[in-house]
C-alpha cells in the first residue's frame, strides 16, 4: 500500500521525529509513504480569518494527490480535520467545488472528490490490524503508564472526522494495549491542549495546558502521548517555556505513539527520534529500553526480558 504523506507545516520543521518514526513504523508493515514537496499548508491557520481561504489549500492538496493517484495519509490532527472538512463541504456543495477548482485550473489541477483522507492511526488500526501488529512485535513494553491526549480535531466533529467513537475512543486504547502500555483513564484525554489559543490568548492557552499536565501527573502518568502535532508542541515546547518560568514544576515528558510502537517493532531509538523530543532525556531512553520485554502477554514469563533489548 502506498500513500501520499501529508506532513503539514509544523512537522517537517518542528516535529520531524513524528514523520520519521511514523514512516519507519509503517514501512515495517509494507506501507510506503511518498513525500510530496508540492503539498502546501492545509489551510487551518486561516480558518479564523476567512472560510474560503481555509478550504482552498486543502482542495489543492487533494487535487495533487488525485493526480498522483494516491490517497493521503495524515499525521497532523489539524491538517487531517481541514482535509476531511473540505472534502465534506465540497461533497455537499458542487458550486463551491467548481469555484475553488477555478483557482486550481491555472496550474492544471482539478479536484474530483475521489481521494481518501486517512489518519495514520486508522491505517494502523484498520488496514494493518491489531493481530498483524501483534505478530510483528519483537518487544513488548511493561509497567509503563501513559496519558493519551487525542487532540480535538481528530475526534470532533465526529461526522466530519469519522475517526473513532468521539466519546469513548478505542483505537488508541487497543493500539497501546497491544504493545503492553497502560493508557490511563484521565479527564484530559478528550480535551483541549490550548494550542488553538496560543498567540491569541497565551494566558488562557497555558492555563488549559497546565490543567492537562497537572491532570496527567495526578493519575501517575510516566509520559504524555499526544496524537496531534499541535498538542505535541504544547507539551514538548510550551511546557518547557512554562517550566522555565516556574522552576518548581515537575516536567511531564512526551512520547509519540509511533516511537513507542517502533521500539516494540525493534526499531532503534535513534531512528525513532525519541531524544528529539525536547522533554526526553537520555535516562528516559534507557528506562524505556529497560522496560522492553519479550512480546508475550503472560506476566509469568519474564526470564528473557533483559536479553531481548535491542540496540
Amino acid at each position: 500500500m502506498k500513500y501520499a504523506f501529508f506532513q503539514g507545516c509544523n512537522i517537517p520543521i518542528r516535529v520531524q521525529q513524528y514523520a520519521t518514526s511514523t514512516e519507519a513504523v509503517l514501512n515495517k508493515f509494507g506501507i510506503e509513504l511518498v513525500v510530496v514537496p508540492d503539498f502546501n499548508c492545509c489551510g487551518y491557520p486561516a480558518r479564523n480569518v476567512d472560510e474560503k481561504s481555509y478550504l482552498l489549500p486543502s482542495v489543492r492538496n487533494m487535487a495533487i494527490a488525485e493526480k498522483m493517484g494516491l490517497d493521503i495519509l495524515v499525521i497532523c490532527n489539524c491538517c487531517f480535520a481541514s482535509l476531511q472538512k473540505t472534502k465534506n463541504v465540497l461533497g455537499k456543495d458542487k458550486q463551491l467545488q467548481e469555484e475553488l477548482n477555478g483557482f486550481l485550473a491555472k496550474e492544471g489541477l482539478q479536484y474530483k472528490g475521489e481521494v481518501q483522507i486517512r489518519h495514520y492511526l486508522t491505517v494502523l488500526y484498520d488496514e494493518v490490524g491489531i493481530e498483524e501488529i501483534k505478530s510483528r512485535l519483537v518487544n513488548r513494553l511493561k509497567d509503563l503508564k501513559v496519558s493519551v491526549i487525542h487532540g480535538c480535531h481528530l475526534l470532533r466533529p465526529r461526522e466530519i472526522t469519522t475517526f473513532d467513537d468521539s466519546f469513548v475512543p478505542k483505537i488508541t486504547e487497543e493500539l497501546l494495549q497491544v504493545i503492553g502500555v497502560t493508557s490511563l483513564d484521565w479527564r484530559g484525554k478528550l480535551e483541549c491542549c490550548g494550542a488553538a489559543l496560543a498567540g491569541l490568548n497565551d494566558e488562557l492557552s497555558r492555563k488549559l495546558l497546565q490543567e492537562k499536565i497537572t491532570g496527567a501527573q495526578a493519575v501517575g502518568a510516566d509520559y504524555m502521548v499526544p496524537v496531534c502535532s499541535y498538542c505535541h508542541l504544547q507539551f514538548d515546547t510550551t511546557q518547557l517555556n512554562m517550566v522555565g518560568e516556574n522552576s518548581s514544576d515537575k516536567l511531564l515528558p512526551v512520547l509519540l505513539y509511533p516511537q513507542l510502537l517502533g521500539l516494540c517493532l525493534g526499531i532503534d531509538s535513534h531512528t525513532l527520534g525519541i531524544e528529539q523530543n525536547k522533554t526526553i532525556e537520555g535516562s528516559d531512553t534507557e528506562r524505556l529500553k529497560s522496560l522492553l520485554g519479550p512480546p508475550v502477554e503472560e506476566k509469568k514469563r519474564r526470564k528473557k526480558a533483559k536479553t531481548a533489548v535491542t540496540a
Binding site: A46, D50, C152, S205
Partner: protein, 574 residues
C-alpha cells in the same frame, strides 16, 4: 567616442554603485525605530566577525562554502536540476568569457604563451561559452514563462537582466559574424600578414576564404571553382593557418553571419563591423555600469550571504551583525522566485489577492522599506498582512539559493511594521501559534495584539454596556443556520473548558456559548459577533459534539470570527 573614455566611465559608475550598495549593508536597517547602532559600530562588528572567522576553524567552512556553495552552487542543484543547469551554463560561460575574452589581453595571454583569439581552441571555446550562456538564458526564460501559473513573479528588471546577458553574447556573435564576412577586415589581414608573389595566389586565397570561411568579397560573385579553392587552401595552410583557424570553428559567429551580412549589404561591410563593435561594447559597458544598481549585484552579495550562512548556520549573537546580515540578505535576492514557488501559503495568496504573501515580493518591498522610501499606508497595511499570513514553515529560508535568512528577516520586519502600523486583524488567527511557540518578540507581539483586541472591542456593541434593551434583529441568512435548533439547555456552556477556566466567565467572555446562540436566535448577529467568547474559543468542539440538538456551535464561532475580522478590517481601512 574613445573606447577608453567609455570604459573609464562605465567602471567609474560601477565602482560608485558598488560603494553605494555596500554602504547600504551598514547604514540601512529593517528596524530603524529601535536601532541605535551607528554605521561605525556596524562596520566594526562586521570586521570583527570576519577576523573571528578567519582566525578560527570557521575558515574551513569558508573554504568549503567557496567550493560547495559558490562554485558548485549546491543549493540550486538540491532544489531543481534544470535551474542548476541554466544557472551553471550562464555562470560558467559568462565568467570564462569575461576572463578569457574580455580580459583576454591580460588573463589569457599570461596563462597561454601561444594565445591568439583567432586560433583554436580559443576561437572555438569563445563560441562554445557564448552558446552556453545563451542556452542558459533560454532555459531561464522558459522557466519564468512556464512557471507563471505557479505564482512565479517576473518583474521588468528580471527580463532586463536576462535580455542584457543575452544581448551581450548575441551582439558579440554578430560582431564576429560581421568580421568574418567583411572584405575590409580580410584585406587588412592580407595586407598585414601576407605577401603574394603573383596575383593568382591572392585570387585563390580569396576564393578559398569565400568558400570556406564565410568571406563576402565583391570580387567573387559566383561560387568559386573547386580548383581555385583547392589552391587557396594550400596557400591558407602555408601562410594563414598559424595565426587564424578556420572560421567554421567559430560556429556561432559563422552561423549568425547570415544576419550580419544583411546589415553589411545595406551599410557596407566596414560600417557593419564598426556598428556591431559599438553595439557589443556599449551593451557590455552599460551592463557593467548597471550591475551594482540591479539584481546582478547578487554576483557580489549572494556569495557573501552564502558564506555567512555556512559559517554561522543562521545563528548570530551580535545585534549589529544581525542588522548587517539582514541588509546583505536583501541585496542578495535575485528574485528567482524559488521561495514563492515553494511557499506553503501560496494558496492564501490566491484568495487574499495580496502579492506580499509571496516571500519573493516581500523581499522586493523590504528593500524599499529599509531605505525609508515607503510611506503609502495602504501598501504598508497590505505588507503587514502579507507578513502575517505565513505558516512559519521555514521553507523559503531552506530553499533560498542565495542563502538568505528570510525567516529572520520576515519575523523582524513583521514586528517592525506592527509596531508602527495599524492593527493587524490576521493576528487573531492560528498563524500566531508558531510565533507564540518561538517566544521571540514576546513584548512586541503582545503590544500589537492589544491593538487588535482594542479594535475588536471598539468595533462592536457589547451585552454588558447596552444602554437600551436588546433588540430583535432582522434575521438574515447566516450561512450556518443550525443555531435555530437551540433550546437553551446550556449543555454547551456547561461543558466548555474555557468557560470553566474563569471565575466570572460572563465578565471575561462577554457572552457564554448558549447566549451567543440565543442572540443569533433573536436575529442579533451583531451582538453575537462582538462577544469576546469567539476569540477565547479553543475550538475543541466539545460543545458541538455534546449539543443534544445538533447546533454546530464551534463552526458558528468560526463564522462569527470571519465576520468580526472583515468588519474590523473594513473599519480599520475606512
Amino acid at each position: 567616442m574613445n573606447f577608453n573614455i567609455l570604459l573609464g566611465l562605465a567602471v567609474l559608475i560601477c565602482l560608485v554603485g558598488l560603494i553605494f550598495r555596500l554602504s547600504i549593508w551598514f547604514s540601512q536597517a529593517i528596524r530603524p525605530s529601535t536601532s541605535t547602532l551607528s554605521i561605525g559600530s556596524r562596520i566594526g562588528a562586521a570586521v570583527q566577525g570576519i577576523f573571528g572567522t578567519f582566525f578560527s576553524s570557521g575558515i574551513l567552512q569558508v573554504v568549503k562554502s567557496i567550493f560547495v556553495d559558490l562554485l558548485f552552487q549546491k543549493r540550486i542543484l538540491d532544489k531543481n536540476a534544470l535551474r542548476w543547469i541554466a544557472h551553471t551554463l550562464i555562470f560558467v560561460g559568462f565568467i570564462l568569457l569575461f576572463l578569457m575574452h574580455a580580459l583576454g589581453s591580460t588573463v589569457s595571454e599570461s596563462l597561454f604563451s601561444d594565445y591568439q583569439p583567432t586560433l583554436n581552441p580559443f576561437l572555438f571555446l569563445r563560441n562554445l561559452f557564448g552558446v552556453m550562456v545563451l542556452a542558459g538564458v533560454a532555459i531561464a526564460v522558459f522557466r519564468r514563462i512556464s512557471l507563471k501559473p505557479k505564482r512565479m513573479r517576473t518583474s521588468p528588471s528580471d527580463w532586463a537582466a536576462l535580455i542584457f546577458v543575452g544581448m551581450i553574447i548575441f551582439s558579440g556573435m554578430l560582431l564576429e559574424g560581421a568580421k568574418m564576412s567583411s572584405f575590409t577586415t580580410y584585406q587588412r589581414m592580407v595586407d598585414d600578414n601576407a605577401a603574394f608573389s603573383d596575383e593568382g595566389d591572392a585570387q585563390a586565397l580569396e576564393a578559398f576564404w569565400v568558400a570556406e570561411n564565410g568571406l563576402v568579397s565583391p570580387n567573387v560573385t559566383q561560387p568559386p571553382e573547386a580548383e581555385l579553392v583547392a589552391r587557396g587552401r594550400e596557400i591558407n595552410e602555408e601562410s594563414c593557418i598559424y595565426c587564424h583557424a578556420s572560421n567554421r570553428s567559430a560556429f556561432a559567429g559563422f552561423a549568425v553571419a547570415k544576419i550580419s551580412r544583411l546589415f553589411a549589404a545595406g551599410v557596407g561591410d566596414a560600417t557593419a563591423v564598426t556598428m556591431f563593435w559599438y553595439l557589443h561594447i556599449l551593451i557590455c559597458l552599460s551592463f557593467l555600469a548597471w550591475l551594482p544598481f540591479s539584481k546582478m549585484f547578487h554576483i557580489i552579495a549572494a556569495p557573501v550571504s552564502l558564506i555567512i550562512k555556512r559559517v554561522t548556520g543562521d545563528e548570530m549573537d551580535e545585534p549589529a551583525n544581525v542588522l548587517n546580515n539582514r541588509m546583505i540578505g536583501l541585496s542578495a535576492c535575485t528574485h528567482c522566485g524559488t521561495c514563492s514557488l515553494e511557499c506553503s501559503s501560496g494558496m492564501f495568496y490566491e484568495t487574499f489577492q495580496n502579492d506580499f504573501i509571496l516571500p519573493s515580493e516581500k523581499v522586493q518591498y523590504l528593500k524599499k522599506f529599509a531605505a525609508g522610501k515607503e510611506h503609502d499606508p495602504e501598501i504598508i497595511k497590505r505588507m503587514q498582512e502579507g507578513l502575517y499570513v505565513c505558516t512559519s514553515c521555514d521553507r523559503c529560508t531552506n530553499v533560498c539559493p542565495s542563502g538568505i535568512n528570510l525567516k529572520e528577516l520576515f519575523i523582524s520586519s513583521r514586528y517592525s511594521l506592527l509596531d508602527d502600523g495599524r492593527p493587524e486583524a490576521t493576528m487573531l488567527s492560528h498563524f500566531s501559534f508558531p510565533l507564540s511557540l518561538a517566544q521571540n518578540f514576546v513584548d512586541d507581539h503582545l503590544k500589537a495584539l492589544s491593538k487588535v483586541t482594542t479594535l475588536f472591542k471598539n468595533s462592536f456593541q457589547h451585552l454588558t454596556d447596552l444602554t437600551s434593551p436588546i433588540t430583535l434583529g432582522k434575521s438574515t441568512d447566516f450561512g450556518n443556520n443550525s443555531f435555530k435548533g437551540c433550546y437553551s439547555c446550556q449543555r454547551c456552556t456547561n461543558i466548555c473548558p474555557v468557560v470553566r477556566s474563569y471565575d466570572d466567565p460572563t465578565e471575561a467572555l462577554g457572552m457564554l456559548p448558549h447566549q451567543i446562540m440565543f442572540s443569533l436566535g433573536i436575529g442579533n448577529i451583531e451582538l453575537a459577533t462582538g462577544a469576546q467568547m469567539i476569540w477565547s474559543c479553543s475550538t475543541c468542539y466539545l460543545c458541538q459534539e455534546h449539543c443534544p440538538n445538533q447546533v454546530e456551535l464551534c463552526d458558528i464561532f468560526y463564522n462569527l470570527k470571519n465576520r468580526a475580522i472583515s468588519k474590523m478590517e473594513a473599519g480599520a481601512n475606512a
